[in-house]
């Protein structure tokens, strides 16, 4: 809940495990406990979804002051609190709000008995297949079982048989025996992405989760159901059986598949990315991300990755792998052969601000006039996906000082055609596949330099090919479509000799004039903050995991707007 929402809301006194605290009236009991670091275990409750109260795991002992007879004055202790009359019936902490002089016991015998009971019930029909279950290691059932369970089963009967390994959509697989019927996935589909294809069929202990007849869980947000599934009932076809969760390194980053910049956690191990999952950010993506963005990491692990710097001298057929020092020296020498007006630079809206800033330095060094980026316009959806398929168009515009991004490309083409432009530096773009540049046109150049993560036709035509790091392999910042400055963090070094583009530019500048005082990405940011007003006063660490509003835009995020409405109505906590 945001702080500004709580202004003007009266505070109530609540006793949690013997200690008195104050909370804004209307705070859910479970959230009040969380705020004072008291964990209430739960399965069905999710702050972004409605609260059906069905798992019963969050049952706690609750008490209120005794009801007074008419005219009777309440008896208060020296701190002004009334005596609490504890109720014999436990209540769910997820859907009930705190009230004045309420007491909550999360450590009482009653509460413990409730948790033990619910844990035992959840496990009687749950398969004990943790060793082959992808959820193991991040499974609420596993965790709460260790913390609140009995450690022993009294169940001597046969477990229920239910459908297993059911393809309920192109990316999702269902194991009904593992399902604990929390209904989070059903609610997510119905409430958050307006695609109510999931539901329960049958009754009682035989209840099964299923897709409705002739339907599929195929929407572009389907994989979020895997994230919110507290057990291993819903698994991702993409991730299943690929890596045990506890072996993965988790890196906070952002998705770079469109201008939204959904906050993510990259799961990787030993230089291989295994998955991306959404990370909560109430200003960007709530708790969700689209399937397209989530799956758009496979190229990082691709065989087609460029791993070494290569050069091809004029007259030579094939590229030769060379050490970085040689490639940089060669590139610098080549570039210095041209007049400033003969060089053009095409950078990318996929680069970080830091990479763009070092590009700006290189451009200044060479006094280049023809500078642009490649635009990528696509379709927005009514949820998170933005029409801008570049993650950092705003950063490119700001850092490179572009008046009209994409507006210079035609002039560059014309210049190459007429011979006025003789050298072209292409950073993190594949012009031939992604724009209307052709091999024929590029063949007119005397010198072409390309950085890119993957082998591609533009690189084929280049004199210098440099392996540029992809998003999971770099530190830096980007500005999303709503103007928020957000951080990427390096999960691991890119394959082979890959370098981040800011490093490549730094080394080129170094080779051209012998010194620039830049060593690390922090130095880049510091210098950028000194030169570009919008970044004034900021440092990389100040950007933090949740980002900062940097540029004012009037744009809103459709999904967030709807969530705000639901928060206002009290349907969800948010």
């Amino acid at each position: 809940m945001s702080d500004d929402k709580q202004q003007g809301v009266p505070m109530v006194n609540v006793q949690i495990d013997g200690e008195w605290h104050q909370f804004p009236k209307g705070t859910r009991m479970i959230e009040a406990c969380r705020q004072v670091q008291v964990e209430v275990p739960h399965y069905c409750y999710h702050p972004k979804l409605s609260s059906p109260g069905n798992c019963r795991m969050c049952l706690v002992e609750m008490g209120m002051p005794p009801r007074l007879a008419p005219g009777e004055e309440p008896v208060k202790d020296k701190d002004g609190h009334q005596k609490i009359g504890w109720m014999p019936r436990p209540v769910i902490a997820c859907a009930n709000a705190v009230a004045e002089n309420m007491g909550i016991r999360t450590d009482s015998e009653l509460t413990k008995a409730c948790r033990e009971g619910v844990m035992e019930f959840l496990l009687v029909n749950h398969p004990l297949d943790c060793p082959i279950c992808d959820q193991a290691g991040e499974c609420s059932l596993q965790e709460y079982s260790a913390e609140h369970g009995k450690g022993d089963s009294r169940f001597r009967d046969e477990k229920n048989k239910k459908p297993k390994n059911v393809e309920i959509g192109p990316r999702i697989r269902l194991d009904d025996e593992r399902c604990i019927m929390c209904s989070r996935c059903i609610r997510f589909c119905a409430e958050t992405v307006d695609d109510p294809v999931l539901g329960f069929t049958d009754r009682g202990s035989h209840t099964v989760l299923a897709v409705h007849p002739n339907q599929q869980l195929a929407n572009d947000y389907s994989m979020n159901t895997v994230d919110i599934c507290p057990v291993g009932a819903l698994t991702s076809n993409d991730f299943r059986f690929q890596m045990r969760t506890w072996f993965m390194k988790e890196t906070s980053s952002i998705c770079t598949s469109c201008g939204r910049g959904c906050n993510t956690t990259i799961g990787s191990r030993e230089g291989t990315v295994f998955r991306q999952t959404p990370r909560d950010n109430n200003e960007v993506n709530s708790a969700w991300m689209c399937d397209h963005g989530r799956m758009n990491y496979h190229y990082l692990n691709s065989e087609a990755r460029l791993t070494d710097p290569m050069i091809r001298k004029n007259g030579e057929e094939a590229h030769q792998v060379v050490p970085w020092s040689k490639a940089i020296r060669f590139a610098a020498d080549e570039l210095l052969k041209f007049n400033a007006s003969e060089v053009a630079v095409i950078a990318s809206g996929r680069m970080t601000n830091e990479e763009l800033f070092m590009t700006r330095r290189l451009i200044a060094e060479l006094s280049v006039e023809h500078v642009d980026i490649v635009l990528r316009r696509g379709k927005a959806d009514d949820y998170l996906v933005a029409a801008d398929k570049n993650p950092n168009t705003a950063g490119a515009k700001l850092v490179l000082g572009l008046k009209k991004p994409g507006g210079e490309l035609a002039a560059i083409q014309k210049g190459i055609e007429s011979g006025e432009i003789k050298a072209l530096v292409v950073l993190q773009e594949n012009l031939i596949d992604d724009t209307d540049f052709t091999t024929e046109l590029l063949g007119k150049l005397d010198f072409l330099l390309t950085t890119y993560p993957l082998a591609n036709p533009t690189a084929d035509d280049s004199h210098v090919v440099l392996p540029g790091a992809a998003f999971a392999e770099k530190d830096g910042t980007m500005i999303n479509v709503t103007g928020r400055l957000q951080r990427l963090n390096k999960a691991h070094q890119g394959p082979g000799q890959t370098m981040e583009v800011w490093e490549i530019c730094r080394d080129l500048i170094l080779a051209i004039d012998g010194g620039n005082g830049i060593y690390g990405v922090d130095d880049v940011f510091k210098e950028m903050a000194g030169q570009i007003k919008a970044f004034a006063g900021l440092t990389l660490s100040k950007v933090g995991d949740q980002g900062l509003p940097l540029l004012k835009t009037k744009l809103t995020v459709p999904m967030l707007e709807r969530e705000k409405e639901r928060i206002a109505k009290g349907e969800i906590v948010g």
Binding site: P52, I92, F121, N125, R203, G204
Partner: protein
């Protein structure tokens, strides 16, 4: 009122007080509006429409009418829960899902005297300010639904329903909605969900108290068929006269449905608390079957806690505590509650000494495991687990420890679920294990302890082995 002649062999017992069931099994009686009006039908509606709605509510409150569906909550008080500043439409729902095993009173009202229900329903709708009412009738009453449809059509033609009820400007429509066959649809919020076209998953309370947030999140009153019929009689007699029927705090009459091991099972309408369990079983029902002895009684529908024939109960009479036996329990709400059970829906299930309690319990557990909606964990998993255990007790594949497990499972459900089904499914086990522990343990077979498969399966497995060797 003229003396009523009943069909031969179906005459009420002398200790009965026929009010709601006055026309049930009546000679020459049918379900037509003409027949109903010959006996003063819809006169009480006209009378009520001349009163202020609030006055009708007060009359019902003053009469002390307690709900006949199971919980025994005062009907007038329930009506008063509609928020005073409400601006949304108010709905009235007649709960005709009569699904508690052992209960079969509402169906006779619907089948034989539908206009009594409709008149009561219209008066009640007027009292609570509803302009739309639903009769939610269980799927298993197809004929009843047809009878109601016909009766509503007749009433509409006579302007007892529609835009201008009896020319007073009051507007009311009644729709009959048929369920799809689920016990849980009798739970009022489950019923509301079902009426909205969803799975009948009961709602959490708070916040979804029907009187404030019911059907389509509007204030909604849900009343049992019999309760609504009583409203008509309260208007007829006045609260004072009605309140003199029965006993203080347990006013009026109620229909007891007796099933099980008695000579004459059936329905008996009594003044609440004016008949004891002994009178009911021995006099009205003709006593136990030949050569059998009373073993136990489930007094208020299958979910109420069982009473042992040899139990002693303590009741307050005046200021004194009096110890009584099962046959002396007055059949009213408070006495049965004081005896540790409840009057519930009025379904009295009599069990004689020929019945094994494990069989009785297994029968109920099978029902509740089948009917659990499966929404919340303790009931979903617990009801099925209890059934699996009693299955084994019945088939001789249980160990004595299973009885303890059974009891503990029941207590892990009780009080921890979204709706009262948790209590409904755990109380039979709690009470039967507490009161018949030795018998249940005696039914377990030590030799077969902790074997999950039935004797039949074991035999089959043996045969299989002999085939392969």
């Amino acid at each position: 009122m003229a003396k009523v002649k009943y069909i031969a062999g179906k005459e009420p017992h002398a200790k009965e007080h026929r009010m709601i069931f006055r026309n049930v099994d009546r000679e020459g009686w049918d379900t037509s509006l003409a027949t109903y009006q010959k006996e003063g039908g819809y006169k009480q509606l006209a009378k009520a429409l001349k009163m202020e709605p609030k006055a009708v509510q007060e009359e019902v409150k003053a009469a002390g009418l307690r709900g006949r569906g199971g919980a025994g909550f005062p009907t007038g008080v329930k009506w008063g829960f509609v928020p005073p500043n409400n601006t949304k439409p108010v709905y009235l729902i007649c709960n005709a899902d009569e699904s508690e095993p052992g209960t079969f009173k509402d169906r006779y009202i619907i089948h034989q005297d539908p206009h009594q229900l409709i008149e009561g329903l219209i008066i009640s709708a007027y009292a609570v300010g509803a302009h739309l009412a639903y009769i939610y009738i269980r799927e298993e009453f197809p004929e009843g639904a047809q009878i109601l449809e016909t009766a509503i059509e007749e009433a509409r033609k006579q302007k007892f329903l529609g835009k201008n009820v009896c020319g007073t400007g009051f507007e009311l429509e009644i729709y009959v909605h048929r369920g799809a066959g689920a016990y849980i649809c009798g739970e009022e919020t489950g019923l509301i969900e079902s009426l909205e076209g969803k799975r009948p998953y009961p709602r959490i309370k708070p916040p979804y108290f029907p009187a404030a947030m019911g059907l389509y999140l509007c204030p909604t009153i849900v009343n049992n068929v019999e309760s609504l019929c009583h409203v008509k009689h309260i208007i007829d007699m006045g609260a004072d006269a009605y309140g003199k029927l029965g006993t203080p705090r347990n006013t009026g009459t109620r229909i007891l449905c007796v099933s099980g091991d008695v000579k004459k099972p059936g329905y008996y309408e009594i003044q609440v608390g004016k008949v004891t369990m002994g009178e009911l079983i021995n006099d009205m029902c003709g006593g136990m079957k030949e050569g059998r002895k009373l073993k136990a009684v489930i007094p208020g529908g299958s979910s109420s806690k069982i009473l042992r024939a040899d139990e002693k109960f303590t009741l307050k009479q005046g200021d004194k505590d009096v110890e009584i036996g099962i046959e002396d329990i007055p059949m009213d709400f408070d006495s049965l509650m004081a005896c540790g059970s409840m009057a519930g829906s009025g379904g009295v299930i009599v069990i004689d000494d020929s019945r094994a309690i494990s069989w009785v319990l297994n029968n109920l557990n099978t029902f509740y495991a089948h009917e659990s909606c499966g929404q919340c964990t303790p009931c979903r998993e617990g009801s099925a687990w209890m059934k699996k255990i009693t299955d084994r007790i019945v088939s001789g594949n249980a160990s004595p420890e299973d009885v303890d497990t059974l009891e503990s499972v029941a207590y892990n459900i009780d009080g921890k679920t979204i709706c009262a089904f948790g209590e409904a499914c755990s109380w039979p086990t709690e009470a039967m294990v507490a009161k018949f522990r030795d018998e249940l343990i005696g039914d377990t077979d030590g030799k077969n302890a902790k074997r999950p498969v039935s004797k039949e399966t074991q035999e089959a497995a043996k045969n299989l082995k002999s085939l392969t060797t």
